[in-house]
Amino acid sequence: MGQQDNRPVMITLEDATKVYTSGGEEVSAIDGVRLEVNQGDYVAVVGHSGSGKTTLVSVMGGLTRPTRGTVKVEGTDIWSLDNRELARLRSERIGFCFQFPSLISTLNCIDNVRLPASFAGGDGGVDAAMELLERVSVAEKARAFPKELSGGQQRRVAIARALFNRPRIILADEPTGDLDEDTEEDIMELFDEVNGEGVTIVMVTHSRRLARRAARVLTMENGTLAENGAGSREA
């Protein structure tokens, strides 16, 4: 743990709160969350369904504006950025893996993977995209459209897309949701690999087994966060 403390802070949440109003009732999806994630951390977030895990990562990734509190990425208060700067942060520094299928249906796999580069103003090279598709073992489907892929293949492509702009942070919301164990293992190995390259990972999962692969495990409960120490790698 001593080594961790020397690394720069990547993500900071202070009093992060998101209140939803549904049916006239106010629900705090996350409530006063305080958190620091260091560069190169591998954090797993576990918790019951509805406990606020998705809200937590989407507030971190600049996809949901918190009702209260601040979110800093590398020291920048992201919710004080203007729309262009925030868009740029999303495209350049954060790779997001969604809980559900998230490919653009009208683009083939390789174009889906290259999509983030088009917003970052990069050249979005086909070669780099192919390389990533090989890395997630769906290179043979490069020219296929999302609907021609199995759920597992779609997730692999979505992960390749999240990695395309070489983000410093990966936010993954149940990235192996309903996948078979082999695919799940492939993706977990890929995350280990990417984390080994210094990328910070925050992964939501409801599987304690998967959570044990992370260096840190956090538990969400009713919108609040509790730390339950390190996963297996530090045990």
Binding site: T64, N83, R88, F98, P116, F119
Partner: protein
């Protein structure tokens, strides 16, 4: 060939006064738009000298195409016509057979308060040797007057349809945006700016209405090609294409209007699409 009395003529006379600044002289001719075809030329110009029955005439004016029979006519003075006729047995290959003083037609401009058919009947009864007829061809003037009174109504109906189409395209794009909320949110998550989302929606709308505009022009042209014959026949006029420059201006203007329609209709959906909070958008339809 039409010989007219420059003193009393009201058909080409006023035009001549306006365009050539005077009355027709005995050695001058005004040509209908297609008259040059009859003397085997591809076109005629003001100032040219053309021969009719061996007699030279200076072209002082060429009429615009009207779609009427007068497009084929050449107008000279009545005196010139008599002279031409009497000399034609000497000068021309074929003799023109008109006796001096002979008149084929007297045109009568009827005060709009009187019924033309009544006037025609009375002339036939009171002037021996004449047959009063109402001219179908001259109806072109009343036809264009009728069209002129119809035009504001047609414009109003057109504006109404246009307004409805703006609303309908707007509704369509609101639906499209709603259906694509997820993907629009995903694009934002990947770094698309609000401006990008706005432009995407607008572009798509403009593409759609431009396509509609092109379809409209093609369909309209086909309709004109198919119907111009029957309609012209039933109205007793000939179909005249507008000039090329008019067609170009019309086409470009029409397509611009189509694009503008799309932009206007998609404005609200595009703005609301660009304002979606990414995660809310992505989550919709989950």
């Amino acid at each position: 060939m039409v010989g007219i009395d420059p003193e009393t003529d009201f058909t080409v006379g006023p035009w001549l006064e306006e365009h050539a600044g005077g009355k027709l002289a005995d050695d001058e001719v005004i040509l209908g738009a297609n008259a040059h075809i009859f003397f085997g030329k591809s076109e005629s110009h003001v100032g040219d000298v053309e021969f009719f029955y061996g007699r030279p005439f200076k072209v002082v004016g060429i009429l615009e195409a009207t779609g009427l029979g007068i497009d084929d006519d050449a107008f000279i003075t009545l005196d010139a016509a008599y002279e031409l006729s009497s000399e034609s047995n000497v000068d021309a290959v074929e003799k023109a057979d008109i006796e001096p003083g002979q008149i084929s037609t007297v045109m009568v401009k009827v005060d709009p308060r009187y019924d033309r058919a009544d006037v025609a009947r009375n002339i036939s009864l009171q002037v021996p040797g004449t047959a009063g007829v109402t001219s179908k061809e001259l109806m072109a003037t009343s036809l264009s007057r009728q069209l002129q009174t119809l035009t504001p109504g047609l414009l109003l109906i057109g504006a109404g349809f246009w307004f409805i189409s703006v609303l309908m395209i707007g509704a369509l794009f609101t639906m499209i945006v709603n259906e694509r909320r997820r993907e629009l949110g995903l694009l934002q998550a990947m770094g698309a700016t609000r401006g990008f989302i706005f432009r995407e929606v607008m572009l798509e709308a403009v593409e759609l209405t431009l396509l509609g505009g092109v379809t409209g022009i093609v369909a309209g042209s086909v309709l004109i090609l198919v119907l111009k014959g029957p309609v012209a026949d039933s109205l007793g006029v000939e179909f005249v294409w507008p000039s090329a420059s008019y067609l170009v201006v019309f086409t470009v203007g029409y397509l611009l209007l189509a694009a503008l329609t799309g932009a206007l209709a998609a404005l609200y959906p595009a703005v609301s699409a660009s304002r979606l909070e990414p995660y809310q958008a992505i989550r919709s339809g989950e």
